[in-house]
Each structure stands twice: as structure tokens, then as C-alpha cells.
Amino acid sequence: MKIGILVNEGPYTHQASDSAYQFAVAALKGGQSVHRVFFYHDGVYNGSSLTDPPRDDRQIVDRWSKLATEHKIDLVVCVAAALRRGIREQNLAPGFRISGLGQLVESGIQADRLVVFGD
């Protein structure tokens, strides 16, 4: 089954990004496919290449990047939300791409389920 994921909050501040990540990992382990992870609202901050959290803490941006590489997951950051918040190509982490809101609606249509994580 194809599952789409929407992440509405940034890393560290709210648990939404953590929950979405743990959910995505479990879905992949369980043999489901992750159609796309769409980052909206403050969720776009998950795509920042400049985060440098304490070493003994989880590396939220890095693990999204790794998930994208290892499982060919499409990580899409909303362009309008990103511009408002200072995320651009120049500070976009590997594995993420910037695109329009149509990608979220498309995920709703193409995926069998859409799961939203937010505040």
C-alpha cells in the first residue's frame, strides 16, 4: 500500500517530525511504500542543511536525508511556505526538493492513505 505523509511542524520544537519519521520507518519495515513526505508550514524547516544539534541528540534533518537515499523516498518542501521561512536551494539538505502544493494534493490522490503529523 502507498502511504503519503504530511509534516506540518519543524524539527525539535514539536514531536510531529519525530512521529512522522518513526511512522515512515515502521511503514517501510512493514513492507508498505512511502509515496511522498510533504513538508508544509514550519515543516519546511526539516529541510534545512544548516541545523547543528547537540551530538548526543537525534539528527533529524540527516536521518530524513538518509531515509530518502536508502529508500528512494520523495521528500518535498513546499516552495511558498519555504520562501516565507528562509529555506531555499542554497540551504536545502540532500534528498529534499522544493516544489509546489500540487505535490501534496497529488499525494492525496495517488497514495492509498495520507497521514498528517502536526501541532
Partner: protein
Amino acid sequence: MLHTVNKSPFASSTLTQCLNHLAAGAAVLLIEDGVYGATAGTGAGAQIASCLKRFPVYVLGPDLEARGISSNQVVEGVVTVDYTGFVKLVVEHDAVQSWL
């Protein structure tokens, strides 16, 4: 429809509102700070117990553990699941509504 609730019922009216909107085929999954709602002996716990008469209620185990809530504090009848169980619930229900 699988309904997820991620807010503490003591700070937010979200759990109450979710429970007020359940229809046939609904199930509830408490995640993140929403798991506090599963605590037996509280007002929220009573709402959950009442809900259980008509709908299944699940709670995410890793979120319970994170918050130091042991299984014997959880309202009887609430089923604890892990992230794999969360995925399974999503697959088994025709759609998911997140109460944010």
C-alpha cells in the same frame, strides 16, 4: 476512519472534540501528548472509557513510555500498539483524520 489525537486533554479541547465526532467504523489512536488522555482515574480517562463502549481506542506505546505512564495506569480496554501497529491501523482503516 482512524482518528489520531496528539494533544493533552488537560490543556486542549481536542480529545473531547474528536470523541464528539466519531461515526460508524471509527477508531481512535492517542499519540504524542495525546497519550495522557489514556490515564485511568482522570476526567479524560472517563471519556475514553465511555468511548470504548462503542469504538476501539488505541494508544502508542513508545509515547506512553516516554512519558513514564505504565500499562497499569492506562484505562482498561485501551490497546497499546507500537509504530508497526500504528501503520497497521492506518492500512486497516479507509482513511485517517488527524485532530491537530
